[in-house]
């Protein structure tokens, strides 16, 4: 290995390393602004100039290749003179408005100025002023403070995959700005705030609310998508002020999706419920915990004694902690109830009982960027898993070929090698085509061979098959939409056949933070139990709801609504005022994840435990405690847990190491029957990115984004719009089953003519039917 000397220390370097890399490895700090380990090298801020022996000019450490025998000095007169010179230039036009700047206290410019700046400025000329830019509800600008490091611009190009910010203009007139006054809409946009070394880009919702030095930083884990991004929660006076990424190369790297970054707003929402309540007639009466719990336990016992345990349904959210879900399971078990589930978004449960283990990603998250070939089935991946999409984008950049089966030809912001774009009811056929192409080329597709052998193979399917046969590291992923599909099990079975025939890993892009944990905790119906869908289709006498909003989490919402409405008892464990309060009888206010200890198991099977970072608001209590006391009230044995850890130990008797053995995506091959697509126009009903769970639904900044507004629009292909004589931007009546909604009509030619995109899990579409079903558009 080549060796270089930095500040008299000998450092081994790898080929391709820069002086900056070598210095980092040795723990030698070289001041810098434009350099960022995850971005390409700009070498433009010039702050990292160092002296290199035998070179007359100082060189930028970030861009200078480390070569054997090189002697570098970062603190010599020459280096420091150059660094101080650059610092002076950076400050001459920078408004020294630190006292009113939100970045103050966590500003690279401020920090480095302490070491390299002068006492007073020699600059006595007028300073530059730059017009503000409107980047939308998430990112605030103070562009006069910009030091043109171009990190935000490179982030867009290289990580987010879309160059929403650019640097037009020359010299002093160079300005970072969006394209033609448009806003920044990337689902990863908030990262530019972390990247910005000054106060030019700051968080709009957080702005002016606290100083960094007043905030305590505490570790936590994001409760939204199945990635489980690591969070640094900033708190003050028992209140959460913001979420920042906590770097974890194996999970979220140094990034955070906007959903994970801004959902904290909901924690302090007016919609929080902070006192136990019981229904008296049509009114809610605040009571103490003892009374509320006694009433809940008593009523449950009555139902149990009168109708048996099977008269009760337990619906829990896969965004709740492992401990909460485990205790829910225990409670149900003790009541003799096998009706327990967290899969409110699933329509097809025919795989239950045929699975080899718990569905998971099928590989470590960190291996995603190293894949050569990918088949992505039914995933609006940018919206479902923004950072997984980012990893796949990096893989594509490194040469991976990405193949897609979807109902919309969405821009994944990376090159897609082959795609089969068809309405949802044609997906089984699409996978069967790929399987048959493999079969025809001599691959063993196992038990599905005879089912698919009659399927006509399209050129696109053949190309997907060819793509998957080549390459070394490959994977077939089933996305959220594939799991929610009415023929999810058959898709799973075919995906397995394709994966096995091509030597690819099979994985699920698990859409909720603790869906894997829920399965580990046993929150699945017992052998005689009812799954989430049946619990609502065959109304129960009583429901216990943990963190769910059935009318938003379940499709069709009307089914959930009528089931709850007709129940004799609904016990609601919730952190927020929810629609279900209309039917509930007892409301037990529980603490969201920031106010309780617990753990999530992410899509790769990683157990991530966290502690409460602030005390519960008002009378709210951690759900594991509430459930424990409820168990005590029902005189259940073995219900004396005194900490979240003790619950976790019970939930995972073999500990963290026992998890991997329980994960398996294998499925007993099912007959492939739905080879014929349905007639007519179909609905593509996705859960919008900012409607995933109760928290994001209540984050005002996220709800104010263009992305959130787009989710309230009915999108259709221009040809369909013309054929039906409809007008874009005008209201349109969307009719599905017996329900209808009136939505604004938008045109999206990336959709096939027979697919209409109408969000599911959205308050404007609760009257419609299933996510994927026949649907009609009518002129108003």
């Amino acid at each position: 290995m080549p060796v270089i000397t930095i500040d008299d220390r000998q450092i081994e370097v790898a080929p391709g390393d820069t002086v900056m890399d070598a210095a980092h490895r040795a723990g030698i700090y070289i001041p810098h602004f434009c350099y960022h380990k995850k971005l390409s090298i700009a070498a433009s801020c010039r702050m990292c100039l160092v002296e290199v022996e035998k070179v007359p000019k100082p060189l930028p450490a970030c861009a200078t290749p480390a070569t054997d025998g090189m002697v570098v000095r970062t603190h010599s007169d020459k280096a420091v003179t150059a660094q101080k010179g650059v610092m002076e230039f950076l400050l001459i036009n920078h408004p020294l408005d630190c006292p009113i700047c939100d970045q103050g206290g966590e500003c690279m410019l401020q920090d480095i100025a302490v070491g390299y700046g002068g006492i007073a400025s020699r600059y006595a000329e007028p300073k530059r002023v730059v017009k503000e830019k409107d980047l939308g509800p998430l990112v605030a600008t103070d562009m006069t403070r910009c030091i043109h490091c171009s990190r935000c611009v490179r982030f867009g190009q290289e990580i987010a995959g879309i160059m929403e910010l650019g640097m037009p203009g020359r010299g002093e007139h160079t300005e970072v700005m969006p394209f033609l006054e448009s806003q920044v809409t990337s689902e990863l946009s908030g990262n530019v705030i972390d990247l910005c070394p000054v106060g030019a880009l700051t968080s709009k919702p957080f702005r002016y609310s606290a100083r960094p030095w007043e905030l305590s930083r505490r570790k936590s884990v994001s409760p939204h998508d199945g990635l489980g991004s690591n969070l640094a929660v900033h708190v003050k006076d028992g209140k959460v002020f913001r979420f920042l990424p906590l770097e974890n190369e194996a999970v979220n790297e140094c990034w955070l999706a906007d959903r994970d970054r801004y959902s904290y707003q909901a924690l302090n929402s007016e919609e929080r419920v902070t006192r136990p309540m019981v229904r008296q007639g049509s009114d809610w009466v605040e009571v103490d915990w003892q009374k509320a719990l006694a009433q809940a336990a008593g009523a449950l016992k009555v139902i149990h004694d009168t109708h048996g345990g099977e008269a009760i349904g337990f619906l829990a959210s896969p965004h709740q902690t492992l401990e909460e879900l485990y205790l829910t399971r225990q409670l149900a078990g003790a009541l003799g109830c096998e009706n327990i589930d967290t899969r409110l978004d699933v329509a097809d449960f025919s795989a239950d009982g045929k699975l080899a283990g718990i569905p998971w990603l099928g590989m470590p998250v960190a291996d995603l960027d190293k894949l050569d070939r990918v088949l992505l089935v039914g995933s609006s991946v940018r919206k479902e898993q923004p950072l997984i999409a980012q990893r796949l984008r990096q893989a594509v950049k490194r040469g991976a070929r990405l193949n897609v089966v979807h109902a919309a030809d969405d821009d994944l912001l990376c090159r897609v090698a082959n795609k089969l774009i068809a309405k949802p009811s044609a997906w089984v056929n699409a996978l069967a085509q790929i399987a048959n192409a493999l079969r025809e080329s001599g691959k063993d597709v196992g038990a599905v061979a005879s089912d698919v052998s009659g399927v006509a193979v399209s050129d696109a399917a053949r190309r997907v098959a060819e793509s998957l046969v080549s390459g070394e590291r490959k994977a077939v992923f089933l996305g959220g939409l594939a799991s929610q599909h009415p023929n999810a099990a058959q898709l799973h079975s075919l995906a397995q056949a394709i994966a096995q025939a091509t030597g690819a890993a099979l994985g699920f892009l698990v859409s909720a933070a603790n869906q894997v944990g829920a399965a580990l905790a046993g929150c699945r119906p017992g052998a005689n139990g009812r799954n989430a869908q049946r619990m609502l289709a065959e109304p129960r006498k009583a429901y216990v709801l943990l963190g769910v909003e059935p009318t938003l989490d379940h499709e069709p919402a009307a089914q959930a609504e009528s089931a709850l409405e007709s129940a004799e008892l609904v016990v609601l464990l919730t952190a927020f005022k929810v629609k279900a309060m209309d039917y509930a009888h007892v409301v037990l206010p529980i603490a969201p994840f920031t106010e309780t200890a617990g753990a999530f198991v992410n899509m790769e099977g990683r157990l991530q435990a966290f502690n409460g970072v602030v005390p519960p608001q008002g009378e709210a209590r951690p759900a594991w405690k509430v459930l424990r006391v409820l168990g005590n009230q029902l005189q259940l044995s073995d219900f004396d847990y005194d900490s979240a850890e003790s619950v976790r130990k019970a939930a995972l008797p073999e500990g963290e190491d026992g998890i991997a053995a329980r994960l398996d995506n294998g499925i007993c091959a099912l007959p492939v029957t739905h080879l014929q697509a349905g007639d007519g126009v179909e609905r593509l009903g996705e859960t919008p990115i900012y409607q995933l769970d109760p928290l994001v639904r209540r984050a005002p900044a996220l709800q104010a984004t263009q992305v959130a507004a787009d989710a309230a629009v009915c999108w259709a292909n221009g040809a369909l719009i013309q054929r039906l004589g409809l007008s874009v931007d005008r209201p349109v009546r969307v009719v599905q089953d017996s329900g209808e909604s009136v939505l604004k009509l938008g045109r999206d030619d990336r959709l096939p003519e027979d697919v209409v995109r109408v969000a599911a899990c959205h308050r404007l579409t609760t009257r419609l039917g299933e996510r994927f079903g026949a649907l009609r558009l009518e002129k108003m």
């Binding site: 090298i41 700009a42 070498a43 433009s44 801020c45 010039r46 702050m47 100039l49 007359p56 000019k57 100082p58 930028p60 861009a63 290749p65 150059a82 010179g85 650059v86 002076e88 230039f89 950076l90 001459i92 036009n93 020699r122 600059y123 006595a124 000329e125 007028p126 030091i147 043109h148 640097m167 037009p168 203009g169 020359r170 010299g171 002093e172 007139h173 160079t174």
Partner: protein
């Protein structure tokens, strides 16, 4: 004059003919003979590079880098596309020679580029033409059409079974795009900003492929060298400074214009050719190589010969050969203000020292010129300049500092007078 005889009119000889730009004129006077010979004899590329090395041809765009050496950097055995790029982004204030080559002798440039393409194994060549001379873009396209029809460009050139084509690229007038890597970015459709080097264009150039970029005059000199030999070219000039060169003489002379003279010619002779300093005035100072070159006072300049080494020894640079002559009526503060404004305006804004420093220097000089100078301003200017020079990705930072440092060094009294008396020493 023609290409037939080894005269010192290497690039400007066609101007003595009717229809100087036409293919007929060029061919009738020995044009494309060198190319024909090379293709017929299949001259090995190494031999051509060797002749260019012997000729001591140095880059005519400003840096004066030995062309033969630059050509030898191109990877010979690289599998894949390579490019030759001609830099006609003639933006250096005071320089107006390359436009004359395109206007009056485009075929010699075409022949030079085709020979370069052959030598370097390029697939295609681009000529990046400065934004403000659109009519030349059109005349260049016309010349390309003529050459294509005559079989000097395109598929199977002169029956040699070798394909090569040239394309014109129209810039938009940014000075920085004359910097070779910014020029490449611009051709690629990106914002014209210099790239950090290494990697150099010879390994990672246009579209990431090995690329050689030469100035217009440099490439136009190649046919002459191939016809008469590197040694003959060298002998036109002086050792290490081969050939003749076009000098763009502007400012206070009676006959401003382009003059092609042998390198090593005394400055006095060029001044005489340009009709001398305008009548009734005397020489004060000269910027010998375009606005980036440090200014030299008359006495130093009169002792110089016009070649790279002599001017460098005197503390300036031959640059692009743009000789800006100033007589005693020139206020050096005002002249510097104008130059400083140019660099302030043309800095690409990428590197901190240049983006911030050029504006700082301009504003201070502007103040001094407008009677608002303060004690300490000159030291500040020198210091700011020192903090820019050598600390940026490209040479624009240094180019902006050259005038500031040299004007203050040689004419400090004028600046001090401005600061102290709030008015000009020259002409009240």
């Amino acid at each position: 004059m023609s290409l037939l005889s080894p005269s010192i009119k290497v690039c400007s000889w066609t101007q003595e003919h009717d229809n100087p730009a036409s293919l007929e004129t060029y061919v009738a006077n020995g044009g494309y003979e060198a190319l024909k010979k090379i293709l017929a004899e299949k001259t090995p590329a190494e031999q051509i590079v060797e002749q260019v090395k012997i000729s001591a041809l140095r880059g005519r765009g400003g840096a004066g880098f030995p062309t033969g050496l630059k050509w030898s950097f191109m990877p010979r055995n690289f599998q894949g596309d390579k490019y030759i790029v001609c830099n006609t982004d003639e933006g250096e204030p005071g320089t107006f020679k390359d436009r004359d080559i395109i206007e009056f002798n485009p075929h010699q440039l075409i022949e030079g580029m085709v020979i370069a393409g052959y030598t370097l194994g390029a697939k295609a060549g681009y000529n990046y033409i400065h934004g403000e001379i659109f009519e030349l873009y059109e005349s260049w396209e016309r010349a390309l059409g003529e050459a294509r029809r005559a079989g000097y460009l395109g598929k199977n050139i002169l029956g040699s079974d070798w394909d090569f084509d040239l394309h014109a690229f129209h810039g938009y007038g940014a000075y920085i795009c004359g910097e070779e890597t910014a020029l490449l970015e611009s051709i690629e459709g990106k914002k014209g900003q210099p790239r950090f080097k290494p990697p150099f264009p010879a390994s990672y150039g246009l579209y990431g492929k090995p690329t050689t970029i030469n100035n217009t005059e440099t490439l136009a000199s190649i046919p002459w060298i191939m016809r008469h030999g590197g040694q003959a070219f060298l002998e036109l000039g002086k050792p290490n400074n081969g050939g003749a060169k076009l000098f763009s003489v502007s400012g206070h002379v009676n006959k401003p214009g382009n003059y092609e003279i042998a390198l090593g010619t005394p400055f006095g002779e060029l001044l005489e050719m340009a009709g001398g300093v305008r009548d009734g005035h005397k020489l004060k100072a000269v910027i010998p190589g375009g606005s980036s070159a440090p200014v030299l006072p008359a006495d130093i300049m009169m002792d110089c010969t016009l070649d790279f080494d002599s001017i460098a020894k005197a503390g300036s640079m031959l640059g692009s050969g743009a000789v800006i002559v100033m007589d005693e009526t020139v206020c050096m503060v005002r002249a510097l203000e104008r130059l400083a404004y140019f660099y302030f305006e043309e800095s690409c804004g990428q590197c901190t020292p240049c983006r911030e420093g050029t504006g700082w220097m301009y504003r201070v000089i502007h103040r001094i010129e407008n009677g608002q100078g303060r004690p300490g301003d000159l030291d500040l200017l020198m210091d700011v300049g020192t903090n820019i020079a050598g600390r940026t990705i490209c040479a624009l930072g240094d180019a902006a500092v050259g005038p500031v440092h040299s004007f203050i060094k040689h004419f400090r009294k004028e600046f001090e007078y401005h600061i102290e008396h709030k008015k000009c020493l020259v002409g009240g």
